[in-house]
Point group: C2
Chain length 340, copies 2
């Protein structure tokens, strides 16, 4: 910047004025400075810039995902990125791999970089117990938006309609003649998992179907866990005739188990979340996809709203879900009527 000033024969402050399009700079000087800038290939240092005025220079947002390897979160991220790029924000992204330790360290790191706000999908073990780092940020009222998993009651929160989605799944299976419907869920303390289980319970209750506790398994994290859980359930004296798998990986695990056992056409499956190639498997996998990009987009918009408009009262946004029939959810159960 000094070099530019020297080249143009003006002071550094004037260069700053030209760069920032401030008023009251004569056209001739502006020209000289702009020529000098181009000649020397000068670009302002966003860090130094941000040190003085925390607003005008592009904002920086910190995004902490639970697990970026999961395509659901990748899709969420694309929504965030779209809005952030549109608004000229830089985003720092990282994945906690569902460990509160990692998550808290990342928040610290982002804080050292003085991000203007956070978008967080709390790690699975953060949703019970708690995170000192998150508590601290909330305490000092850093703008922060949560996605998918609730953290506290007074914070911005963007989520899918988990209860409604789970109800749709359970009702769909009941309508296709199933009464013994197994529920496979993620960690029981995970907020979204609780909501899905609640939807399952409510829907079955409303349909007058008794719930067999032995068919409700939670604490399942990955494909392998879901697959072996499914296999065990199918060995019961009164095995389930249908599965509701409340997360993408779990549905894949169930389907894989059914294929191993050759029962994919006898047992029904509905999975929460979208699954790639779900339509190519035979039978196709019936799913309840979330509108993941919308979750990300809305979260980013809420954050920018806090940042730009100084909003402080918390907002909760709910995105609807729908069920997509592909075959696995339409396998007829023992109580099926002709036309479900």
């Amino acid at each position: 910047m000094r070099d530019v000033a020297a080249e143009a024969g003006v002071s550094v402050k004037t260069v700053s004025r030209v760069v920032n399009n401030e008023r009251w700079v004569s056209g001739e000087v502006t020209d000289r400075v702009e020529r000098a800038i181009r000649k020397l290939g000068y670009r302002p240092d966003a860090r130094a810039r941000a040190m003085r005025n925390s607003g005008l220079a592009g904002r920086t947002l910190g995004v902490v995902h639970a697990d970026l390897a999961n395509p659901f979160f990748t899709a969420v991220h694309s929504g965030i990125e779209a809005v952030a790029q549109e608004a000229g924000c830089t985003i720092l992204t990282a994945s906690s791999r569902d460990k509160t330790d990692n998550q808290d360290r990342l928040i610290q790191t982002f804080n050292d970089r003085r991000v203007d706000g956070f978008i967080v999908v709390p790690a699975v073990d953060t949703t019970y117990g708690s995170s000192s780092a998150l508590d601290e940020e909330i305490e000092r009222s850093t703008p922060i938006v949560f996605i998918d998993r609730r953290y506290g009651e007074q914070n911005d929160f963007v989520r899918s309609d988990n209860v409604a989605g789970a109800k749709m799944a359970a009702e769909h299976l009941v309508a296709h003649g199933h009464q013994r419907i197994a529920y496979l869920g993620d960690h029981p303390n995970l907020w979204s998992a609780q909501r899905r289980e609640l939807g399952y319970v409510e829907a079955l209750g409303a349909s007058g179907v008794d719930i067999d506790e032995r068919l409700v398994l939670t604490g399942l994290y990955d494909e392998a866990a879901a697959a072996s859980a499914a296999e065990q359930l199918l060995e019961l004296d009164a095995p389930p005739t249908a599965f509701f798998a409340a997360k993408n990986y779990l549905a894949v695990g169930v389907v894989r188990a059914l294929h191993r056992l050759g029962k994919q056409n006898d047992i029904a499956v509905v999975g929460f979340d979208e699954i790639a190639l779900a339509d190519l498997v035979v039978p196709g996998i019936t799913t309840i996809p979330q509108n993941a990009p919308a979750l990300g987009r809305i979260a980013c918009e809420l954050l920018l709203d806090r940042l730009d408009n100084g909003r402080t009262e918390p907002i909760e946004e709910v995105v609807p879900v729908t069920l997509i029939r592909r075959g696995s959810g339409e396998v007829a159960g023992p109580f099926a009527t002709d036309r479900p």
Copy 2:
């Protein structure tokens, strides 16, 4: 920091010394300062820190992906992230969505943030033509590592063994009795796509199989393009009996087309890249997965090597690939012998 100094009754410089574990600070003062730091919850500003000494404070790396929505790049990213976190680096990530414009803007943005180095998967239209932003970085010898797509000859470059992988695919299909093997490829100017086509051509040549130019289609970017290309090829008078799809999305498109036509058990398919649920489709999709996390890991290590050890001569790292049989690649062709 000033507050901490006041609280501890020392100068700011002494606080700095404590924070940085410099020698020659008395134990008593260290204690006082550390207590003050904890009491006030002080954390040093990484940006201000980086302004003076470009090294000691955590480095910042800029990662520009071509398309983060593609699971291949997501997997690459997890490798980068693992190494970067290990080394205490922060990474700025963004996706160019395969547009040079976006890519160049991102590089500018990262530059404004004064990142210490770049990891780049050049946008597809950067690999011909060129990118002024990339050229400029190379010109001023910014540390930079390319992944998957070559950019220039004198830069670090990490890639899979595309030629060998494509040869494996073609030879595998020939060994299963196929002679009319279609090649579906990405943009013809994309480096990795060229290499895969080369492998295909060489393998067929070595096997004494004539190449029918009508079976070689390139410039296909997504599933839909590959699906309709496959359908058109199958309407030829002499249709292909096998497909080599040189990218994950293209293989999915072909498989989808075959399923629509009910020919999935008659026409063989081998796909480059891994595909989720490839084993659950019937027949399973034979693929040549890349070791994506390794690509990311190595790239990040190379970058850190440039940064820490000041290496300047370019290194090219090649990661091997293997073929995984799942069924679709083993569909017998018209010239099949008993035991391929």
